[in-house]
Symmetry: C2
Subunit: 234 residues, 2 copies
DNA sequence: ATCACTCAGATCGTGTAGGAAATTTCCTGT
DNA sequence: ACAGGAAATTTCCTACACGATCTGAGTGAT
């Protein structure tokens, strides 16, 4: 490999479209719960609010519809996706338990040095949130998203990565109840998964991920299910 | 090109919204390989062909972009998604092996009478294709899609069902090589899975699905690997 | 003579403005 | 209080203007 082959350097970020900015703006509105779940999203209203014409808003909403962040009712307009029911949240975590422990195992088995360095850097750069503010929780949610995406990437499966991203699970968790004061526990569990991946211990990585998801599931399903007093994990 | 008729591909049977019809029309064009993989898809061109203005075409393409049937290059237009590489096809089948055997097991365990009746009806209504024509293969692919979606539905997991649908695996398989003359084998394997589900035998259902996917994977990966005419590293 | 660069014209994507059709809301009459 | 209907709002599509990109020929340099 002496001569430098014309390898794809990578597409330089050429985003200068208004529709992209509108898309990001509306996505941010939904992610921040500035629009209530199930609320109507007016095309003209958004256009006026953002100071653009309806066309780019329409294009952005069409993309968000395929991403299942909004739903369209013909001739009636768009609505944000409603809150998840208890069954849907259960189904979501069942799906995560199906693909993510597998991804953690694969990450421990097959990830390269560069990927492990990125995972290590992510864990080093995230501080445990001290306070219980809105911004603090948002930072934790952002770290959580990056962490799980990173594990999927290290597993080397683009399909698993996309499947995880398309669940938008953090949006749904966030909307159901932002903040349960479990930031430290989450970080600790992430550290355990990271250690297993960096040590190249597939079994430990898979188990740690499964327990991480089960803990989050049981923690978060509790308020959705009734106040049925049951023994909660410590 | 002499016979390039830029006139209407077909009169759109108008539902409620024009954009929906345009969306279905473009989707059909891609699914039928009427547009080559990686080929440019002109907004104005499609609008002229379908006899509508560019706006609904743009909305349809925006939705297809989120579904990953087309990709957008800003200020340059849309292209259909390119052919899958060997690694991507491998990854796709790895993903299917992760979720579909699990779905088959769950279908055998938890499906109700109505769902099993639907599965039975699907298998009864599909005849083994006698000829090797294009239409015959399309009918087989349509049955295959319905069958796998049905198994995911019987498993009771909307997440798995959506994850499967969003892979568009039949489109990719179809584009890589439509028809390998394995219709009978496919149907036979579907019958075996169906029997296990109807009998309520989770282990047999899971195993049958896994073997079904592995058979398809090995059948279909072979021509791709041999295509380069030698061991290619890269 | 071959190659690289430049500069027109053509083509296409992007955004704006306006009008037709449908829905929702509110008001009126019984 | 309920049914019927009209105004207001909104969606949806068309038509047009602007800007960027692509294609090809022409010019100059090596």
């Amino acid at each position: 490999m002496s001569t430098a082959a014309p390898r794809a350097i990578g597409p330089l970020p050429r985003r200068q479209m208004l529709a992209d900015d509108v898309h990001e703006a509306i996505k941010a509105l939904i992610m921040d719960n500035a629009i209530e779940p199930g609320a109507r999203v007016s095309i003209d209203g958004l256009a006026r609010q953002l100071g653009v014409s309806p066309t780019p808003v329409r294009e952005a909403l069409a993309r968000l519809e395929s991403a299942e962040l909004v739903v369209k009712e013909p001739l009636r307009g768009y609505r944000t996706t409603p809150l998840l029911t208890r069954e849907q949240l259960d189904d979501l975590y069942q799906f995560r338990l199906l693909i993510e422990p597998w991804a953690a195992r694969r990450a421990a088995e097959h990830s390269d040095a560069e990927g492990r360095a990125r995972l290590d850097a992510e864990m080093r750069s995230c501080a445990t949130p001290a306070d219980d503010t809105y911004d603090s929780y948002k930072a934790l949610a952002a770290h959580d998203t990056r962490f799980h995406v990173l594990v999927a990437e290290l597993a080397g499966s683009a399909q698993v990565r996309r499947a995880f991203e398309r669940t938008h699970c953090h949006l749904h968790i966030f909307r159901l109840h932002y903040d349960r004061g479990l930031g430290e526990q989450t970080i600790a569990e992430h550290r355990r998964i990271t250690r297993a991946v960096l040590d190249g211990d597939p079994g430990a990585a898979e188990a740690a991920m499964r327990e991480h998801l089960e803990a989050a599931c049981y923690e978060r399903l509790r308020p959705v299910s009734e106040e049925a007093g049951g023994p909660t994990r410590g």
